[in-house]
């Protein structure tokens, strides 16, 4: 399974104590943005994963512990980079404003 489901993977049936989750919501003027592209870049800036946001503007990654950058691309918007630290068993939650 390698396809990116909108919003990222479901947590159903996943043992979250073993995952380092990076997730969040993309907003524009207070409204969630569906279909934005959110990329997860590693500490060296290398691409690791990408998902389109869900209908409610959400995205999620199962990362590894460490420092990451979340890069958001959307139509008619500048690219937004947000640093984030992931830790095992924890959920890092971001709010990205375009």
């Amino acid at each position: 399974m390698c396809g990116a489901t909108a919003g990222g993977p479901s947590t159903d049936g996943v043992d979250l104590t073993q995952e380092s989750v990076v997730q969040g919501v993309v907003h524009r003027d207070g409204q969630p943005v569906a279909g934005a592209y959110v990329r997860l870049l590693d500490a060296s800036g290398e691409f690791t994963a990408e998902v389109p946001t869900s209908a409610t503007g959400q995205f999620r990654f199962f990362a590894a512990p460490g420092s990451w950058t979340v890069r958001t691309l959307a139509p008619k918007a500048a690219v937004v980079d947000r640093p984030v630290v992931a830790a095992k068993g924890q959920i890092a939650d971001l709010h990205v404003a375009l």
Partner: protein
């Protein structure tokens, strides 16, 4: 490689828009998550599900020649059509389908540069209407094994040929087993094939999913120590990202002896007795 040569394998969004009503062109959206197509797609595009349509339902292998013929015939794709593939995930699955169409000998197949993402970021038209196409009688060729590598050949290539691991550095070094948008619970071993160079597929693409220029691509593989005087095998986790790199090296850069190891890490990391390396790239 000249611009003209690039156009024979890669078209941009403007080209697609100007050929939307061209009866000789069939647009095909390829994804695993087919809900994207259900919602909307480029006008006139038909759908291929890389797993349901292109994989054998029981064994881990492709559909055979007859099944491929039946599939394309039912989709209304003929041998003389120009097939333009596009999809999500930066064209991973579209590139996989491209390689697959080449495997079965389709003459004129091309990728939409940037795929669905670039199309969406440009705010171009997407429609929900599913086209009705007249069925054809498609004739496939026998698989072209000169572009497909199997495990024994990969083992023999260690230290001899270019092995290009196109996964992310974290997967290469064994910190992750899969791309980070997927759960990581899997049983096989982590790491990479000894002597493989880690050149992530993403380094061949821009943020919007379009391919980098030929000059940038030549520099990318040259700087990473890939010697095009040797044969090359690309692999990833299940063979779709390495199709993207196979497309770059074989189709855009015109290197002749390039194979995609579609068994990839899911096979290698589960084989008994084969060597595995965990070290980071020096």
């Amino acid at each position: 490689m000249s611009t003209e040569t690039r156009e024979r394998v890669l078209v941009d969004a403007d080209w697609v828009e100007s050929h939307l009503d061209d009866a000789g062109v069939v647009l095909v959206e390829v994804d695993e998550d087919t809900t994207a197509y259900d919602k909307n797609h480029i006008r006139g595009a038909v759908r291929l599900d890389w797993k349901k349509d292109l994989q054998d339902p029981v064994r881990r292998d492709f559909v055979d020649k007859e099944q491929f013929e039946k599939l394309l015939s039912a989709r209304g794709i003929g041998n003389d059509h120009t097939v333009v593939l596009y999809g999500g995930n930066n064209n991973w699955f579209a590139a996989y389908a491209y390689w697959y169409f080449k495997l079965y000998g389709h003459t004129d197949v091309r990728l939409l540069d940037g795929g669905r993402k670039k199309w969406e970021l440009d705010s171009r038209e997407l429609v929900p209407d599913v086209p009705e196409r007249v069925a054809t009688t498609y004739t496939a060729k026998d698989q072209d094994r000169s572009i497909r590598a199997f495990r024994d050949e990969v083992e023999a290539a260690i230290g001899q040929q270019n092995l290009v691991d196109v996964r992310s550095p974290d997967e290469f070094a064994g910190r992750l087993l899969a791309p980070a948008h997927l759960p990581q619970e899997q049983a096989q071993r982590k790491g990479h094939i000894p002597t493989a160079k880690n050149i992530p597929w993403s380094q061949a693409a821009n943020d919007d999913g379009t391919f980098k220029s030929d000059d940038e691509l030549t520099k990318l593989y040259g700087d990473a120590g890939v010697d095009f005087g040797k044969d090359t095998i690309a692999y990833c986790r299940i063979g779709e990202r390495s199709s993207h790199t196979w497309f770059v090296i074989h189709e855009l850069l015109g290197q002749e002896s390039v194979k995609n190891y579609d068994g990839s890490w899911v096979e290698w990391g589960s084989l008994v007795g084969v060597p595995i390396t965990l070290e980071e790239q020096p």
